[in-house]
Amino acid sequence: MSKTKSKISKFSEKIKKASENEVIEETLKTSERVLKRITDGIYRQPSSAIRELISNSYDADATIVEIQTDPPRFESILVRDNGNGLSEDSLSHLIHSIGGSPKRTASGVELGICNPDDATQSPGGRKLIGKIGIGLFSVSQLTKEFQIITKKKGWNHRIVADIVLRTNSEEQMIDPDSEFETGSVRIWKVSATDTDSHGTEINLRNLLQKTRDDLSSKEMWSRCNPGSVMQIGGESVKPQEPPSYHIGCIHEDSPQEIGTEPKLPWEQNDPETVRFNKLVQAMVDERQKISRPSLGKSFDYYLNMIWTLSLSAPLDYVDIHPFELTASDNIKIFRFGNELSSSAKEVKLNPMQTIRQAMDLVSPERGGNKDFKVMIDGIQLFRPIRLRDLPVTDPNIEYPLLFIGKDAPDLSEIAEEIRGGNLEFESYFLWNHSIVPQEHSGVLVRINDSSGVLFDQNFMNYPVAELTRKKQVTAEIFVTRGLDAALNIDRESFNYAHPHYQYIANWVHNAFRQFATRQKSLSSEIREKKRKTEAKQQQTQLESIVEQRIQTIVADEDSIPAPVEFVDDEDKGIGKQEEGVISFKKSEVFQDRKPPSKMTSQERKKEALFEAK
């Protein structure tokens, strides 16, 4: 048994044998190399750490995750789930192997955090999305002290682990591979009579000031403060307006007092299930004020954060899954081909048939128990993507276009050692003249229905400019097999060199090309159709005018209609009438036309024809 494994095993035994309230202390150690990678640097936002904790709860088969962040004060954060809980072995492993996630490995199976039949799944059969060793220590960007309270079903005790982290110091480094003290942990057990209950709770206390400032949008509020006068380039800049929606802020001089009341799109007595829907609707309604609403402009950091978390997590859609749309949803549906020469073909659904049924789609394929509810401060989160009742703004195409695709490429021509296994995915691209919020323009890649990367607005570096079209498309790719290894450790970016990423990028580009071609031709078809309809309407109107005029001149309906001429002035018209010709003043029938001064020969012929007619 390796030194580390032996250490882990011994510590685990110590915890198991400890009596109630007996405190076991341990120093947390890891190599500086690992530490630098995963603790103090990789997560840029508080929301990243919270996202990782949600992922851990999901992987532990939780059906409910409850998060309390104490807005707008943010003194502490609580994340509580009803998942499987951490065993003594898992806890010991966690403490001794920061950054070394046992998920998806044989160790994970031994520790009971992976399914014995498939190490890529949770014990309950869910496809794993996080890496526990990393997720937990992502909280080091939020605080240096936190506590874990955990219990497994059947236990008559809870385990409490109190963790204190140290900040890195370069002065203490001798050898980058030698172990570095990252902090210490105190563990004890407390008795429990609720043997059937299970779950894990993480309490973050004494949040770092930077975390609190970020969560409370401190910088934004300082720019909104009427008392603040900023100088930029020698000029005074007025305080800016707060965003349309925000959770308010605490009083500058009195941190237990509200300084600015929140402005939220839901009512205080709205149930938790309704609040997020109202947030999404509020964003859509921002179009009445701004042509391209954005999360950054309309929400403060906190609301932005819960929106982002709801995009990342494996949650149900605020409306329905895109693949559940039917023919009655007023949307035109096309299917992508997977060849370079493919073109998108229209799909006609039978009544009541869903896209999923018509095209045999499986996403989201989360596996295991699909119930997963995330609540933050009394708001239940849903995926904030709606494909129905979208705003119609295009003068030509009055309905959204939905393009569906799927692929499971044969990667056998790539050598096995660099192939990275098989790849399968499904996707949709939605075109609408207006994508709200604008941050949803782009392609979002989900692995096992989860994403930390969010929308790539360049469509994985699609080489053609297409600036306008890119802003009008929102797309998701549901990867059901593969790509996981291409995800960088922070889960917020990909290794672009990985074959799976490269294939998907190629596929996306091919898909975008098909969409663009289709959309252009559809647009053109509709314009031509409109033009013909307008022309026909004009002709009918003209004939009606002529008939009316004829009737005023000729009493007998059956008599042969007189010739019709268009004249420039009235006198000529009177003269023509006397000859039995029905005349109309040109200016009364036709729009004033001033032919261009310089005409091509083609244009001159047209003009002459017009005059003749």
Binding site: E66, R80, T143, E145, R158, A192, T193, D194
Partner: protein
């Protein structure tokens, strides 16, 4: 010119960078507290649980939880008792908890977290237990009050104070209670319960507040003879004559402790009734069965467990033009409510005496308390011995 950065500027650059030095917490050795005595279980059962059970028959809880605001402390015994009762009725309890001005040690916070984790399976998700003190509610702009707004209005408010509701230092508890009542009557039209457990001895009231406090009772004695009779003859045991016996500082100072406790209870109840009388839409404040017991081991009780039910009165319209004759009357009857209050304070149940006279009840309460404390992680191996010893000491010192 010096290029040195002024010292205060250097301090500003450091501000916000360094968090407080991170320190570990350790488990607390839990020892039994005064509120773990069996008598308190009577209050939990016969007042909190019983009245809540009655209230839920008047509320429509088919699509919502019962909303509960309390001062649960580290053990959350009140939450455990109510949640168990409600579970049998398929109703969830949604809690908002504050602190009762106990010194917030880090160890105390850990115990709160562990208890909150234990009860989380019994209560509605979204329940919040805060470390904020209840008296933060005396400021309507406080973050604590924000939690009230977000989580209320409440069906049951349970203020189990360790000290007096008329806290000697200031009136922040009373102001917090006023704000809560204001919030409640503005936000709901269904009945709700208020439990107030408070010290009721002379030392627990600020002398400066006494005149105003007694004024509520004095006023009722002037306007209602029955009330006057009740206070003078029944409570004070004095001959009643045409001039009301005015309660003042000198008189109450010499009063026997038990009478003071009863009058204190009347004072709190009258304060609430008069408060509601000032509201635009009227709310009846009905006093429910209340209890007293001893914190200090003295012959007279010095702790009150009061209960009130707030019920909205129907609006009645009168036609000022006289087109339609109505004989609608003002139904808010302050005197009637005062009499009910008086009756309950006259019949206050002395829990210590009750358990002294009813051994079976004592044993049952002891057993139930022991079970609750076991669930709250106490080592109850010696609980019975501790409870019995405390009771024997009380009996001896109070000459039961």
């Amino acid at each position: 010119m010096s290029n040195m950065v002024p010292k205060d500027k250097a301090q500003n650059l450091l501000s916000g960078i360094a968090p407080p030095k991170p320190e570990h917490v350790s488990p607390t050795k839990k020892s039994f507290q005064p509120w773990h005595k069996p008598r308190k279980q009577v209050v939990r059962n016969k007042q909190w649980r019983y009245e809540t059970e009655k209230l839920i028959t008047q509320l429509d809880l088919t699509e919502r939880s019962l909303k509960y605001l309390s001062l649960p402390g580290e053990d959350m015994l009140d939450i455990r008792v109510l949640a168990r009762m409600l579970e049998k009725k398929n109703v969830k309890l949604k809690c908002l908890g504050f602190n009762d001005d106990i010194s917030n040690t880090r160890e105390g916070e850990v115990e709160i977290h562990i208890s909150a984790n234990e009860v989380s399976n019994m209560i509605q998700e979204g329940s919040v237990i805060k470390i904020d003190n209840f008296d933060e509610l005396n400021n309507k702009k406080s973050v604590a009050f924000r939690y009230v707004i977000e989580n209320g209005p409440f069906d049951v408010i349970n203020l189990d104070f360790c000290q007096s509701v008329l806290r000697p230092r200031d009136n922040s508890y009373l102001r917090s209670l006023l704000h809560l009542c204001e919030f409640q009557i503005n936000k709901r039209r269904e009945p709700w319960l208020l439990f107030v457990t408070t010290r009721s001895d002379y030392q627990s009231v600020r002398e400066d507040d006494l005149p105003a406090f007694w004024e509520n009772i004095n006023h009722n004695m002037v306007v209602n003879d029955n009330f006057k009779f009740g206070v003078e003859q029944i409570i004070l045991g004095q001959q009643s004559n045409s001039t009301p016996l005015e309660l003042n500082h000198d008189r109450v100072k010499k009063m026997p402790a038990k009478q003071f406790t009863q009058l204190f209870g009347i004072g709190v109840g009258k304060w609430l009734i008069r408060l509601m009388a000032t509201a635009g839409s009227k709310w009846e404040v009905e006093t429910l069965a209340s209890y007293c017991y001893r914190i200090r081991q003295r012959p007279a009780p010095d702790m009150l467990a009061l209960a009130f039910r707030f019920k909205p009165l129907a609006e009645i319209l009168n036609d000022p033009s006289g087109l339609i004759a109505t004989n609608a009357q003002q139904r808010f009857d302050e005197s009637r409510l005062g009499i009910k209050l008086l009756a309950e304070m006259t019949n206050l149940c002395d829990l210590d005496m009750e358990l002294y006279n009813n051994k079976d009840l004592f044993q049952t309460m002891m057993k139930e308390t022991s079970e609750l404390l076991t669930a709250a992680r106490y080592d109850t191996g010696n609980y019975d011995k501790w409870a019995m010893k405390n009771f024997e000491d009380l009996k001896r010192k109070c000459h039961f």
